[in-house]
Amino acid sequence: MMSVLIQTNRLLDCEGLACPMPVVKTKKAMEDMKSGEVLEIRATDKGSVADLQSWAIRIGHLYIGVKEEGGVFRHFIRKSAENEIKPEIKHPHIISNEELSKKIASGDNVKIVDVREPAEYCFQRIPGAISIPMGELEMKLSQLSPDEEYAVVCRTGTRSDLACQIFVDQGFSKVKNVIPGMSMWEGPVEWDE
C-alpha cells in the first residue's frame, strides 16, 4: 500500500514496542513540542490505539486520527495550547458553521481557507477547502486575490482568528472567521483516502 504523505513536525518511532511504552514515549515527546505542533507516532501494538486516544483526550491534546498501513498504526496528535479552550476573538467579521453550511448548500461559491496543520486537513475538511497552514500563510497569501471573499477555518476559531488578521494586514477586505470551526462542523466533509 502507498504510504500517505502527511506533513508533521515530528515523527516518533514506537514500532515493536508494547504497552506502556508507546504512551510513555509519546508523553515525553509532547513535552518537548510547541503548542500547535503535530506529532506522528508509528506503533505496531494494537493496544496502543485506544490507549493513545484516551490519554490524549484526558490531557487535552487533539487526537487527530490514525491510519493503519501494513500492520503499522500511524497516530497523529496535535499539542494544544494551555489557553485554547476559550479563544479570544479579535477579528470582527465572523460566519457561523451553520451560515457557512447554508452558503455551501445554496451553491454559493464561497472560498474556504483551512489554516490547520496538513495532518488535520488530511483527515477531515470541508470539500474544496484550500489548505494553507498557519505557518505558511504570509508566504502564500500572494497566491490569493484580495478582492475575493474568503471564509477562514481552523479547529476552534483561534488560529483562524489570527489568520484573518494577517489577511486584513495584507489588504484583504472580505474575510470571515468561521466560528467555531471544524471541531463542531456538521456539514459535508472529505478526506484523503
Binding site: 508494547a18 506502556p20 504512551v23 510513555v24 508523553k27 484516551s54 490519554w55 484526558r58
Partner: protein, 381 residues
C-alpha cells in the same frame, strides 16, 4: 527493610484463588472502555480501574485506593503495563504486589479441567472451564478413546490432556456453528485423525468436509458403548443440536444455560428462530428425562460456577429456577429473547466466517477476535 519483589501470578493460580474464594484486590490498568466491557470477576475479589496512562506522572492516585493488608494483583491487556505499574507500587513501599502473567490475553485463554463425573461403563466426562471468557468444552473418555464436544481454540490443551489420560481422540463435535469463539474442533480432528461432526443445517456455507451431526445417529466412544445421541434443538442457530451422553448428561450447547437461555439473534435471524427456541425449550427439553444433568457450552455469570468451578444443573431443577424456562405466554417469550439483548460478542461475524472455513486469520488475529465475554445468553450483561 528489604525491598519487596514483584511476583508473577499466572492464570491458573488466579483461577484457584477465585474458586477458593481467597481475598484478592485487583488493580486493572487497562483503559476504561476495555475494563467496562470485560473484567476479572468472582470469588472474593475487589477490583478498581485506573488506566496506566493516568499514572504516568506518579503512582500516588493509585496508592490511596489500594489497601495495605491484601494481596494485590495488577492486570493489563498483555502484562507490560501491569509490570510497569507494579514496579512503581513496590518502589512506593508496597508489598504483596503481583502482576497477571500474560495479562487478560492469557486469562482469556486459560482452561481449567474439571471432572464432571463417571460414566456407567467405566468412562469419565470432563468439563474444561474457560473462566475468563465463560466458555465450556467437554471431553468424554472411555477405554482408550475420547470424544471432544464444543472444542475451544486451544487444541494443545486437549491434546495434552488426552495424552495424559492415554486416550486417542476419535471424534470432535460442535453442537452448533459458534459465533463467540473460534472452534478448535476441525483443527483438533485434523491433528488426531478424528472425525469432525457439525449439524448440517449450520453448515450450509462451510468450505470443508464434515460428518453430519443429526438425530438418528449414534456416536460410540470406546467399545463400552457410551452413546452420544444427538437431539435436534434449534433456536440459537437453526442447526443447534443437543447431545445426550450415557443417558445421564444433556449437553445443551448454547440453547440452555444454568441461569439463562440462548439468544436467537447471532446469525441475524432473531424473529425467525424465536418459535424454534420456544419449542426446543418448552417441548423437546420438557419431554426429556428431568434427571438429566445439563452441561451447557457457556456460563454468563461467575455465580453459575458450582463446586470446584463446575457448571452443571439438573434439568428438572432448571425448569423451576431458570427464568428463561418460566415464561408463560408466547408473546412475552418473544419479547424476552428479541428485545433489550446484550451487545453482540466481539467480532462475531468474523468468528462465524472463520468457523465456516471462509476466512483463515492468523493466531494473533484469532486471539484478538475472541477478546471479551461470550455473550451468548439472553441475560448476559
Amino acid at each position: 527493610m528489604g525491598t519487596a519483589i514483584i511476583k508473577a501470578m499466572n492464570a491458573q493460580e488466579l483461577t484457584k484463588k477465585l474458586l477458593n474464594s481467597e481475598e484478592l484486590f485487583i488493580l486493572d490498568v487497562r483503559n476504561t472502555t476495555e475494563f467496562n466491557n470485560w473484567k476479572i470477576e468472582g470469588g472474593k475479589t475487589e477490583i478498581v480501574n485506573i488506566p496506566y496512562f493516568d499514572l504516568l506522572d506518579g503512582i500516588e492516585p493509585a496508592l490511596n485506593q489500594i489497601p495495605n493488608d491484601k494481596n494485590i494483583l495488577v492486570v493489563c491487556a498483555k502484562e507490560g503495563s501491569s509490570i510497569f505499574i507494579a514496579e512503581q507500587l513496590i518502589e512506593a513501599g508496597r508489598t504483596s504486589i503481583h502482576y497477571l502473567e500474560g495479562g487478560m490475553k492469557a486469562w482469556s485463554e486459560h482452561l481449567e479441567p474439571i471432572k464432571v463425573g463417571d460414566l456407567r461403563d467405566g468412562g469419565e466426562i470432563f468439563q474444561f472451564v474457560r473462566i475468563g471468557k465463560g466458555c465450556l468444552s467437554y471431553m468424554i473418555v472411555s477405554n482408550g478413546e475420547a470424544a471432544m464436544i464444543d472444542t475451544l481454540r486451544m487444541t494443545a490443551v486437549f491434546n495434552q490432556f488426552a495424552k495424559d489420560k492415554g486416550v486417542q481422540i476419535k471424534h470432535t463435535l460442535d453442537t452448533h456453528l459458534h459465533a463467540d469463539h473460534i472452534s478448535g474442533g476441525r483443527l483438533l480432528a485434523e491433528m488426531t485423525h478424528a472425525t469432525y461432526w457439525l449439524p448440517p443445517k449450520d453448515a450450509d456455507e462451510v468450505s470443508f468436509e464434515y460428518e453430519a451431526l443429526e438425530e438418528g445417529k449414534q456416536i460410540i466412544v470406546g467399545d463400552t458403548k457410551i452413546l452420544i445421541q444427538p437431539i435436534y434443538s434449534p433456536g440459537h442457530t437453526i442447526g443447534s443440536t443437543s447431545l445426550i451422553v450415557d443417558d445421564q448428561y444433556l449437553l445443551s450447547g448454547d440453547i440452555l444455560f444454568v441461569e439463562s437461555i440462548g439468544r436467537p439473534d447471532l446469525a441475524g435471524k432473531a424473529e425467525d428462530w424465536v418459535a424454534d427456541l420456544r419449542t426446543t425449550l418448552y417441548e423437546t427439553y420438557k419431554n426429556l428425562s428431568q434427571n438429566l444433568i445439563v452441561l451447557p457450552a457457556h456460563f454468563g455469570k461467575v455465580t453459575e460456577l458450582g463446586e470446584g468451578g463446575k457448571v452443571a444443573a439438573r434439568l428438572g431443577d432448571l425448569f423451576t429456577s431458570n427464568a428463561g424456562l418460566n415464561i408463560d405466554s408466547d408473546d412475552e417469550f418473544r419479547a424476552a429473547v428479541t428485545h433489550n439483548l446484550p451487545p453482540q460478542p466481539n467480532a462475531y461475524q468474523e468468528i462465524r466466517q472463520t468457523n465456516m472455513g471462509r476466512i483463515t486469520p492468523s493466531e494473533a488475529e484469532q486471539r484478538e477476535m475472541e477478546m471479551g465475554p461470550n455473550r451468548c445468553a439472553v441475560h448476559d450483561k
